[in-house]
């Protein structure tokens, strides 16, 4: 037969030596590919683990704060000379002055002006707040000498934590020899102790590292994300439902579709400029406010939500729509009773991806003044605020060495914030997910 000239039977071909070589080559190719895949995963995971562990390691010092117990004379005439018992008068006393007096009494030999200033630098320039809080909680203590713990200054704190090497020559060291002597005086008496740094979570930003906290940026981020969610979720989902389910397929809708996809690829700083021009210049909304930040981030998140929602709606099998239409459900009933609930897990996933992006965004917020030194914790969406990523950037730019661990700690907090947001989303997605 002519067939045998051009081709041989499969069983014969499989027995030939070429076939054995081919088989070997095939197995080798598969092994190689497996190796590449494992290597890729290993490298990716390794980089991630290195990054995370170095950040966490660097952040550890920021979670503790060293305090020194000072004997402070709570003189009546310095605090409430007229015996008014008015908390406002008491709160406005010169607490820092009392601390300085205590330090002077501890070291009467220090007389030179420069030396005194150095002595005062032993404790935080915000230490007065601790004395004030103590007195407000214990008003009966006025008139007596009380030992109150106040935070040490940032450099002393670093020294105690071992981040400043005291064996270095004085000229290379941020802490002078005199300061070492004074500090050792307190240490010898057991008056220096370490506490958890609640300041990091309870106070707003500050120029002093030992006083700076994330509360303002955290609340700012939370408010901004809430505004973003409240604006972009309903608008995005509605737009996607209309485009996917109800809109006629014609030129206009296809142009809109192309533009939504393009919008998702626009650099985020452009949205910031747009927000500056539209929300602040034209609508006169307040600068640096979570309201404007949220609106700007909504613009950025909208395309992500619309695209994810449309994909999710399109993936619902037509048989479900037909079933509902077949018993006389209207188009809206089909969408809201059947398609949307089934698409919900996908929609939520898209929304969370969008929100997580928005929560980590700094560039558009730069343009609307949210990258700013703001001490107060925002109380509502129109008060001035900054956000966690902006706070990280600003702390990273500060010259004080003590801001280094603070920056890492802020990154850890931001990552935990994003993790919480994602976990919430996964919880809701699981809740909406149905077995088919």
């Amino acid at each position: 037969m002519t067939d045998t000239i051009t081709s041989m039977s499969v069983s014969a071909a499989l027995k030939s030596p070429e076939s054995a070589a081919r088989l070997k080559a095939r197995y080798r190719a598969e092994m190689r590919f497996r190796f590449y895949g494992r290597a890729a995963i290993g490298i990716a995971a390794g980089i991630l683990i290195f990054l995370l562990s170095s950040i966490v390691y660097n952040s550890i010092p920021a979670f503790t704060q060293n305090f020194v117990g000072l004997d402070i004379e709570l003189a009546q005439d310095k605090i409430d000379p007229n015996f008014s018992n008015d908390t406002e008068i008491i709160a406005s006393a010169d607490w820092q002055g009392l601390i300085k007096a205590s330090l002077r009494r501890e070291f009467p030999e220090v007389n030179a002006r420069a030396d005194k200033r150095e002595l005062y630098d032993l404790v935080s320039s915000g230490g007065g707040d601790w004395v004030r809080d103590f007195v407000l909680d214990n008003p009966q203590s006025i008139g007596s000498v009380v030992r109150i713990s106040v935070p040490t200054s940032d450099d002393i704190d670093l020294l105690i934590k071992g981040l400043i090497d005291r064996t270095l020559p004085e000229s290379d060291r941020l802490v002078s020899n005199k300061e070492l002597v004074w500090l050792d005086h307190y240490t010898a008496q057991g008056r220096v102790h370490t506490q958890f740094a609640w300041t990091l979570f309870t106070s707003g930003d500050s120029r002093e590292p030992e006083m700076a906290g994330l509360s303002g940026a955290f609340i700012g981020s939370l408010l901004t994300i809430l505004v973003t969610l409240a604006v972009s979720f309903p608008i995005g989902v509605m737009a996607a439902i209309y485009l996917e389910e109800l809109a006629p397929k014609n030129r206009i809708t296809s142009i809109i579709e192309v533009n939504i996809n393009n919008l998702a690829a626009v650099p985020s700083i452009v949205f910031g400029l747009l927000g500056l021009a539209v929300f602040i210049s034209f609508f006169q909304l307040p600068r640096s406010a979570p309201l404007v930040g949220g609106l700007v981030l909504s613009l950025m998140t909208l395309p992500t939500i619309i695209i994810a929602t449309r994909a999710s709606l399109a993936s619902i099998p037509p048989s479900i729509r037909e079933a509902a239409l077949g018993i006389g459900a209207s188009r809206l009933q089909v969408i809201f009773h059947h398609v949307l609930p089934l698409a919900m897990p996908g929609i939520l996933t898209g929304t969370i991806i969008g929100l997580a992006q928005a929560a980590g965004e700094t560039a558009p917020l730069l343009m609307i003044g949210m990258m700013a030194f703001i001490v107060d914790t925002p109380t509502d969406i129109t008060s001035k605020a900054t956000v966690l990523p902006a706070q990280i950037y600003m702390w990273a730019n500060n010259p004080e060495r003590a801001f280094l661990p603070k920056t890492s700690a802020a990154i850890v907090v931001l990552l935990l914030f994003l993790l919480t947001v994602n976990a919430t989303a996964i919880y809701f997605r699981k809740k909406f997910e149905k077995r088919w």
Binding site: K249, A329, R435
Partner: protein
């Protein structure tokens, strides 16, 4: 109220276009009340397309256009004043693949009565669900697990659930698009029995690829070929003594 054999559905010159392609070339068919009419023919001949004209399911297909008219009880369902939702409540449909909603068995059946406001009270709704499930022959099997999801049932049970869902709104007409093609012979036999029982109350139009099924369940048969009705008549006559040679060739298995 229509009696057996009276024309329930009349189609005159129905032509369907998918874009530029004409899928039906003018169908004239009179379908009698309270009997089973089966539509047979090779794949792509237009029988499903015609079935979907009867409850205007073609409306939702992009680029599909229907010409001609279909009357149900004398109402032109393609007239401007006709509400599609109302029409589909009157003309129920069962699909090729069982497609229960991913909800409980109860909610599957109760969905139609709920959206059409047929049951004023919870008791009335319970009653409707029970009757529909009984008529679909599913009550015995599921009455103690109405809260389970419909997709957990077997294929045949799912299809009976879909039939229960379709008849829960008490339609006049039930359209079935190859309802047994995804089922095994035993489940098929159950459904066929069910069709036999249901025809006393509903007008049934069924598309099927199984000649045996058509001959077993239907009183009238229409043979479709390339978008035309080649032959339409009593099932017994079509299968024993077809007038058209094409019909004969298809039925005897020489084409199709």
């Amino acid at each position: 109220m229509s009696y057996e054999g009276e024309n329930k559905i009349q189609s005159t010159g129905v032509q369907v276009y998918y874009g530029e392609t004409r899928a039906l070339h003018g169908i004239d068919l009179n379908i009698g009340a309270n009997e089973v009419t089966s539509l047979i023919g090779p794949s792509g001949c237009g029988k499903s397309t015609f079935l979907r004209c009867i409850n205007r399911m073609n409306d939702v297909i992009e680029g599909c256009r229907v010409e001609g008219s279909v009357f149900i009880d004398g109402d032109d369902i393609y007239a401007d004043h006709m509400d599609v939702v109302e029409l589909r409540a009157r003309v129920g449909m069962v699909f090729q693949k069982p497609n229960p909603f991913p909800k409980s068995i109860y909610d599957n059946v109760a969905y139609g009565p709920r959206i059409h406001g047929l049951a004023p009270t919870k008791e009335a709704l319970d009653h409707m669900v029970e009757t529909s499930l009984r008529r679909a022959g599913l009550w015995q099997e599921v009455h103690d697990r109405l809260g389970d999801t419909g997709s957990g049932l077997s294929g045949g049970q799912q299809q009976r659930l879909c039939i229960a869902r379709a008849i829960a709104v008490n339609p006049d007409v039930v359209l079935m698009d190859e309802p047994c093609s995804a089922l095994d012979p035993i489940a098929t036999a159950v459904i066929e029995e069910l069709i036999e029982e249901l025809k006393s109350e509903y007008t049934i139009v069924i598309v099927t690829h199984s000649m045996q099924q058509a001959s077993r369940v239907s009183q009238k048969t229409a043979y479709f070929h390339l978008g035309n009705v080649v032959e339409f008549g009593d099932t017994s006559q079509i299968f024993s003594n077809p007038k058209n040679t094409q019909t004969e060739a298809y039925i005897s298995g020489r084409i199709g």
